[in-house]
Amino acid sequence: MNVASDLKKTPLHDLNVSLGARMVPFAGYEMPVQFPAGVLKEHLHTRAAAGLFDVSHMGQVIVRARSGDNADAAHALESLVPVDVAGLPEGRQRYALFTGEDGGILDDLMIANRGDHFFVVVNAACKDADFAHLQKHLSDTCEVTMLSDRALIALQGPRAEAVLSELWADIAGMRFMDVRACDLHDADCIVSRSGYTGEDGFEISIPADKAEKVCRHLLDHPDVLPIGLGARDSLRLEAGLCLYGNDIDTTTTPVEAALEWAIQKVRRSGGDRAGGFPGADAILGQFASGATRRRVGLKVDGKAPVRPPARLYSDADGKAEVGHVTSGGFGPSIEAPVAMGYVPVALSAPGTRLFAEVRGKYLPVTVAVLPFVPNTFKR
């Protein structure tokens, strides 16, 4: 059986291959894990200049109120996410979570208010389930449409603004989480000032047939290199950002995952629109009484990377297991191994000494403040 033939291709597949990408299966797609520069250099280039990522495997969904009133779509979305959607102004985007009835996380996503509809970006591995979830719960009041004819790219790094400004002069006026329609070389695009690397940057939704042309214009710029999923992972880890399926999933709640910041006061107990989302009792209960475990950053003493699912112990002999690592590897920008994992709340204070099991040894690690690398968002 030819497994490769079952994999989907993004609109930028041919471009990725022509750039020398090493393609791997990821979430049902054939995706570039790295380009000839390699993960280490791609990571450092993104933090120093600008990196271009193909993230077209992610799901792009339009939610439009049947009434024509976008407030109805906002209220409908609020029935599925513990986030202030109704208070999200036009032209702004916000991080959100689909929660389950037990308070677990079904997916993390971005929601943008586009004036007459909401534009939602979800993870590739969850997009079919997310789409079904949205249709099942919102179709009475909203039209839910998956956009299958658009690419999604991210341009990230300190030079992203300058590079994109050469294509579209107005971009410098955008601040973090602003969303606008724009015309890039005759392509009808949606640009948001956001990303998942901890760097300033942009995500751009492009009609599939124009995507390669826009990317080639960006890649013509000497500051821009194509970046694969390998560096995307090390960049988001250093930025302390969760990878769905590793750091958050149906068995972790937003409070356990230290994502309380994503739940605005208006949706918490005492807020005007408190609760009303799946798992509200469990999640708001944890706001009140605390969770038993918490996602933390971990700095590793030595040079050996600590990778998931390494077990964590409170003692150097591996007798008292207290948790496990959910993401981990080498952080090229801090030139040291870094990890994230879940530990009991009592052991979650920065500076707490723990031990991670790697190949039968118990390596000292220290609970650290996230992010490992300060973010450079233009707020």
Binding site: Q34, V39, G230, P305, P332
Partner: protein
């Protein structure tokens, strides 16, 4: 005598001791290494045993003992600077020296032409 394994190690054998490293092909596939863990001098391995570990940003990989033998020397330079393995995998980036239990076993390994055919 220069020999290779299908697991992408090379062996330079001289007087019953094999200097062992990973091939240029393997180094390219692994990408920039950020961590190397070597065996202890004096430890013994059977053919195929996990003798060393290399890690790139993305993943950890094992380096196997290509034959039965005892570690008589390790290359601390690649522990201090793992990038040596990428820049000179079949020279300064060697891993360890293995005193072979049966030197004749090396005859069964791949020669350079056979290895090149294997990796295309």
């Amino acid at each position: 005598m220069l020999k290779f394994t299908a697991e992408h190690e090379w062996l330079k054998i001289d007087g019953g001791v094999a200097t062992v490293g990973i091939t240029t092909h393997a180094a390219e596939q692994l990408g920039d290494l950020v961590f190397v863990e070597l065996p202890e001098v004096g430890s013994s391995f059977d053919k195929g045993g996990d003798a060393a570990t290399v890690e790139s940003v993305k993943a950890a990989s094992d380096v196997y003992s290509p034959l039965d033998g005892e570690i008589v020397e390790v290359n601390q330079a690649i522990v201090d600077d793992p990038s040596l393995v990428n820049s000179d995998p079949q020279g300064a980036g060697w891993f360890f020296k293995l005193k072979l239990k049966n030197t004749a076993d090396a005859e069964a390994l791949l020669d350079e032409a056979a290895y090149k055919e294997l990796v295309g």
